[in-house]
Amino acid sequence: MSPMSPMSDTNASSSIDFSLTEDQELLRETVRRFAEERLAPGEAERDREHRFPAELVSELGELGLLGMMVPEEYGGAGVDALTYLLAVEELSRMSPSIGVTVSVTNSVCCWPIARFGSEELKRRVLPSLAAEGEIGGFALTEPGAGSDAGSLTTRAVRDGDHWVLDGEKAWITNAGRARWYVAVARTDPKAGKRGLSAFVVPADAPGVSVGTPEEKVGLRSSLTAPLVFEGCRVPAANLLGEEGQGLKIALATLDHSRLGIAAQAVGIHQRALELAVQYAKDRVQFGVPIARHQAVQFFLAEIATSLAASRSLTYYAASIAETSADAGRLASEAKVLASEAANRAVWQSQQIHGGNGFSEEYEIGRLYRDVRVTTIYEGTSEMQRLVIARGVLG
């Protein structure tokens, strides 16, 4: 075996670079400032009142946060996946509810339309989301079809130049405020998983109605409600991709969107760390700030270390999202790691807060409720593990 030939210019030849670009740093700064100045002040009140901040949606649009990955020719910001995730992370740090509002609009409404839509559909729909500051939704889940999305029963029947949709969707984020929904329905009852198709449904289409909003454990200032289609007529031109591609489009969309939830979890995790450090420095027990107690220090070390791991994996998954065959598996790894670590970190941060952490007066109490859903929606941890196992077992 021959010796390795030495490298002449080692730094230049290394392609490992963990730094963010200047544009990414700038965007992160901008969104961070916006989140601290505009989202943080009213978050506790909105949470208490279960109130969606419709007044903030236009500001999100003005910042270009509602069509971030949409190409500029369709009114979007045309940024890469990592840049988009930095925005979701920073928004979620101050308001997980706004985090999911933005993530859903970008990841599961804009993204599948930009990826699978016809030119005409893209020109008709995307600018209103990306440039005019509207939010969107994704109507896949049904009362009887959660993780088993392929078993959904909403029907779409062709009628001349239209499709007619009938059925009930559940747990639809942004329902009631979204201008467009990407909805998946069964176009061929005999074709099983291949009998599903995806449609872009305008919120004002005849036959669309929004049910009573859910009373949720957390994310109370985001909108979640059932969406009902009753003889809902959608133009044939609103079919996304081909007939029968619905499940494929839905799964590709979820592959992509789970990174948004990973970023949301990272944002919450970051906030849990900040709150824990601050509280540990301020709170005095046994005559010293509790930050001097080793048990508290070890909690802080664990929160900070798991945060570094979640963030690295999420950013890495984003950096290969468009190029690697492993992108889907890595996105699932990022989501399961980041969401479960964030749940643990919030618990640890709350533990450091002691009795005060159990009070609604402290932000950590809300985060404890908000973080819970990250291991559930857009694919439970268990579904992620199945995706990962399939990936590694080949």
């Binding site: 030495p6 270390t305 992620q384 199945l386």
Partner: protein, 381 residues
């Protein structure tokens, strides 16, 4: 953010993988059982440039970067963790500090043979009464003309049974505590230098771990590394880099165990189907893959920080803390997937399981890493 190995790094990875499969694997089980130090392996690794991966060519090294170093340690440890730590100590704990703190003469005369693998190095910091509390060491060095006279004992010294050169930490002024510690580069054939036989250990059993004894050992002042009193700072800075090596070792051990678990799960049948079709096993493998990927990223990130940041203490501590815990969990699950067979010496997983345990302990226990990280987040961010 771009995480993709360069062509040179991929070539290095392939070369080291082949070397590990062809040269290291055949003896891995045997040296684990016998405890025999694989000096021949070190010599061959040296010929490949693996004894001083990140040392510039002019000082006998391979002139590669810190990421490349991680790849080397991971690939060797994937087959044999004992061999991994032998290289890690020589690279991180001996070559690195001489490169960073040595005089030009020391780099030419002492570093070059170590980095080229002609000589083997060891790191003499730990003592019977000074483990995590390294500053409590009791070995003394007294100035006497142009020499220092060193007396004391070191324990748990990896490579100690076969090392040609020892980096020794001793106090030149006990009253100054950690500020009185000074580092020396000592040849093993110096009169007054002796070492014991190898410790029988739970894992990494052939890494030549032993005690060193210094009795009236005269070391010329030209062999002092850095200034008097600079030793503790040198030791801590060196361990920052060493932790990246151990993190890479942990990743390699886990990768080895993970690959065996995957292949076992595919061939072993129970209840009429391969284990790989059983959901509990799938979930184990999913968690193993996820934690492995995260640990490897944190390790590379620490190596990247070492190259481009002034301080990388936090990144190195996090990488080691996370990777060590990951390696324990991954090797435990790999053994569990193997069931009863995994508990026998016939399969490699039991060795990986035993070898993983030390990554939580040496070059700073996980508790020390947590103290480092906590200090950082409470006081420095």
């Amino acid at each position: 953010m771009r995480i993709e190995l360069s062509e040179e790094q991929k070539l290095l990875q392939e070369t080291v993988r082949r070397f590990a499969e062809e040269v290291v694997r055949p003896r891995a089980k045997e040296i684990d059982a016998s405890g025999e130090f694989p000096r021949g392996f070190f010599d061959q690794a040296g010929e490949l440039g693996l004894a001083g991966v990140a040392v510039p060519e002019e000082y006998g090294g391979a002139g590669m970067d810190a990421i490349s170093y991680c790849l080397v340690i991971e690939e060797i440890s994937r087959i044999c963790a004992t061999s991994g730590v032998i290289l890690s100590v020589n690279n991180s704990l001996v070559c690195d500090p001489i490169l960073a703190f040595g005089t030009e003469e020391q780099k030419k005369e002492i570093l070059a043979p170590l980095a080229s693998g002609q000589k083997l190095g060891c790191f003499g910091l730990t003592e019977p009464g000074a483990g995590s509390d390294a500053a409590a060491l009791r070995t003394t060095a007294e100035r006497d003309g142009d020499d220092y006279v060193i007396n004391g004992n070191k324990v748990f010294i990896t490579n100690g049974t076969h090392a040609d050169v020892a980096l020794v930490f001793a106090s030149t002024d006990m009253e100054k505590k950690h500020k009185g510690i000074t580092a020396f580069l000592v040849d093993a054939d110096t009169p007054g230098y002796s070492h014991g036989t190898h410790e029988e250990k739970l894992g990494v059993n052939a890494s030549g771990t032993t005690e060193l004894a210094f009795e009236g050992m005269r070391v010329p002042a030209s062999r002092r590394l850095g200034e008097e009193g600079e030793g503790f700072r040198i030791a801590m800075a060196t361990l920052d880099g060493g932790r990246i090596g151990i993190a890479a070792q942990a990743v390699g051990i886990a990768q080895g165990a993970y690959e065996q678990a995957i292949s076992y799960a595919k061939q072993r049948e129970q209840f009429g189907k391969p284990l790989a079709k059983i959901q509990a096993i799938q979930f184990y493998l999913a968690d193993m893959a996820t934690e492995l990927d995260a640990a490897r990223l944190l390790t590379w990130k620490a190596a990247w920080a070492k190259m481009y940041q002034k301080r990388y203490t936090l990144e190195a501590a996090q990488a080691k803390l996370f990777s060590a815990q990951m390696a324990r969990q991954v090797t435990d699950k790999a053994l569990q997937i193997h069931g009863g067979y995994g508990y026998t010496r016939e399969y490699d997983v039991e060795r990986f399981f035993r070898d993983a345990r030390i990554t939580d302990i040496y070059e700073g226990t996980s508790e020390i890493q947590k103290m480092v990280v906590a200090d950082w987040v409470i006081n420095k961010q």
